[in-house]
Amino acid sequence: MEKFEKGMLKKLANDVMFDLNDQEISELQEELEIYVRQMDLLNRIDTENVEEMVYPFETPTTFIRDDEHEYALNAADALANAPRVAANHIVVPKVVK
């Protein structure tokens, strides 16, 4: 069975921009044992020549809209939930150092 080392799980978490503490990693290692056993159940199903099912229905519901302005957030609304705002911009620490 695949081994889930602490460093690997920490890296997986950091890759999606958060951290896990030691207790969470240990819980996750336990849960992964069951998870991997459940994933193995998929291998009993023959999927030779089966197409992936991405959405339930394949009836086209997309369309190309007319190139007309419909709705856009105004600046006040767009910034209404921003934690820090100055001069109509969202404030973050300096990115280019």
């Binding site: 997986l12 849960e31 992964l32 998870y35 998929l42 999927t47 959405y55 339930p56 229905f57 620490p93």
Partner: protein, 472 residues
């Protein structure tokens, strides 16, 4: 409470619902935000009193965007988030004369089946406060069961409307994928997410569907199928209706009271002229329901929630640079249960895992749905118990630990999400004072047939409008 129990005095209705909601809060902990309804009431008064939901106060799950009303998805990271627009379903509710009265608790971002993982804490089952409501739409289910509201909105990615409906003894309805637009709903897993409702009777679910359904260009999976007059066309005649009992589910349930209740229902349906037959699907295939769901849902969730970073909206934690702000905000903003699910999602999207996990799960999904369609080809609906037990106590609930028990009986309702077929849970009785629910699923866009059979079940159980007093 049924929709018909409410009069046309919108102020009185709102006052009644808010006062009941406040009074029940200590017992149920179902509400995240009580809404100041003054402006909505003024808007409703300008509308035609014949609108289908005129003056009806509604409870709305807290992952549905409500303009000017805090929408947290029961996550700390969105604790201060106030949407600047209404979700499509909220606009539909308002146009039909309804008022958003409360926002309800849920498992954080929809990720859970217990409602134990909500930032505001456990939601209590109205029939026994020690027990869980089920989730993820637990707050909406509990308030409907307690007779606080006649209509509550929920969302359903695995069985998040239909399982809490069973535990709380109410009708929980998830129509066909694409039947109701998800525009403005904070997503969990886009290929599985549905919007639906809780009511105390089947007719009210039909009324709600007619209001909420219809094409919306802002949700590209929204269907062009015409919307029916579901309530007006309700017909509980079962003569000649073919109902398949999913034997795999019923054979794996050990609770005698649930089995006895189910068998009695089948006899009653037969007596009404229905043809009720056991069907069996491939066991190995049904045992993959949970892992297929988990792989797809966790991967889609991990991608969907990458925008929750505390930078443009939500709770921001300080950091020396942008990356540190994001990591600190997401670490503190998400519970450990959610972060662990994101890690699993990220793992299955690794380049080396994509073929053997993510794409494999998508392929098995097609095999499952083809087999399910094959069953439904010969029947009007598939029937099974909605859960393998009545509502458990928190320490009896194994949902968060991904238990390998009850792979089929506890997770079969995922079939409705993988396939997108319409599915409804209907109350069917009680065991030791706790509700039992049955689940019905029909072919895509065959909501009328589904509601008709559900109505017949309701007539047999006599549980139309059944609620429980929590403030006695």
């Amino acid at each position: 409470m049924k929709l018909n129990d409410l009069g046309k005095n919108v102020e009185a209705n709102v006052e009644c619902v808010l006062s009941k909601a406040h009074a029940s809060q200590d017992k149920l902990n179902a509400v995240v935000t009580f809404v100041d309804c003054e402006k909505q009431i003024e808007e409703v008064k300008k509308l035609d009193q014949n609108l289908p939901l005129y003056g009806v106060p509604v409870a709305v799950k807290d992952n549905i965007s409500t303009k000017g009303i805090r929408t947290t998805a029961s996550s700390r990271i969105l604790d201060n988030y106030v949407p600047v627009f209404d979700a499509h379903v909220i606009a539909k509710l308002k146009a039909a004369g309804a008022v958003v009265a409360v926002k309800t608790s849920m498992d954080e971002l929809g990720m859970g089946g217990t409602n134990l993982n909500a930032y505001t804490g456990k939601v209590n089952n109205p029939y026994d406060f020690e027990r869980i409501s089920g989730g993820s739409s637990g707050g909406s289910a509990a308030l409907t069961a307690a007779g606080v509201v006649a209509l509550a909105l929920g969302t359903d990615t695995g069985d998040s409307i239909r399982k809490p409906a069973a535990y709380c003894g109410v009708v929980g309805f998830k129509p066909t994928y694409g039947r109701i637009s998800r525009y403005g709903v904070i997503p969990y897993a886009s290929s599985l997410d549905h919007v639906g409702c809780f009511t105390s009777c089947v007719k009210d679910a039909a009324v709600a569907l007619e209001v909420l359904a219809g094409r919306d260009d802002r949700d590209m999976t929204s269907s062009y199928e015409p919307v029916g007059h579901y309530a007006e066309a309700l017909n509980s005649d079962l003569k000649g209706k073919r109902i398949a009992v999913l034997a795999n589910v019923m054979d794996s349930i050990k609770d005698e009271a649930i089995l006895k209740n189910f068998d009695a229902l089948c006899e009653k349906l037969k007596a009404r002229g229905a043809i009720v037959e056991k069907v069996k699907m491939n066991d190995e295939l049904l045992e993959t329901l949970l892992p297929v769901y988990l792989i797809i849902a966790n991967a889609e969730a991990c991608a969907n929630h990458s925008n929750l970073d505390g930078v443009r909206f939500g709770m921001r934690e300080e950091g020396a640079d942008l990356e540190e702000i994001m990591i600190n905000s997401r670490t503190k903003g998400f519970s450990s249960a959610v972060r662990k699910r994101f890690v699993l999602g990220s793992w299955s999207l690794f380049v080396e895992n994509q073929e053997k996990l993510f794409r494999k799960a998508q392929k098995v999904r097609r095999v499952i749905v083809d087999a399910y369609a094959d069953v439904l080809k010969d029947y009007d609906a598939v029937l099974a118990s909605a859960a393998s037990t009545t509502a458990p106590k928190p320490d009896e609930s194994n949902d968060e630990k991904m238990s390998d028990t009850y792979l089929v009986a506890e997770n079969h309702m995922v079939l409705g999400n993988l396939s997108g077929y319409p599915s409804i849970t209907v109350p069917c009785g009680f065991a030791e004072g706790l509700p039992i629910g049955v689940n019905l699923t029909a072919k895509a866009f065959d909501e009328q047939n589904l509601l008709n059979i559900a109505k017949a079940i309701e007539e047999e159980t006599g549980l139309e409008g059944k609620t429980v007093e929590v403030n006695a």
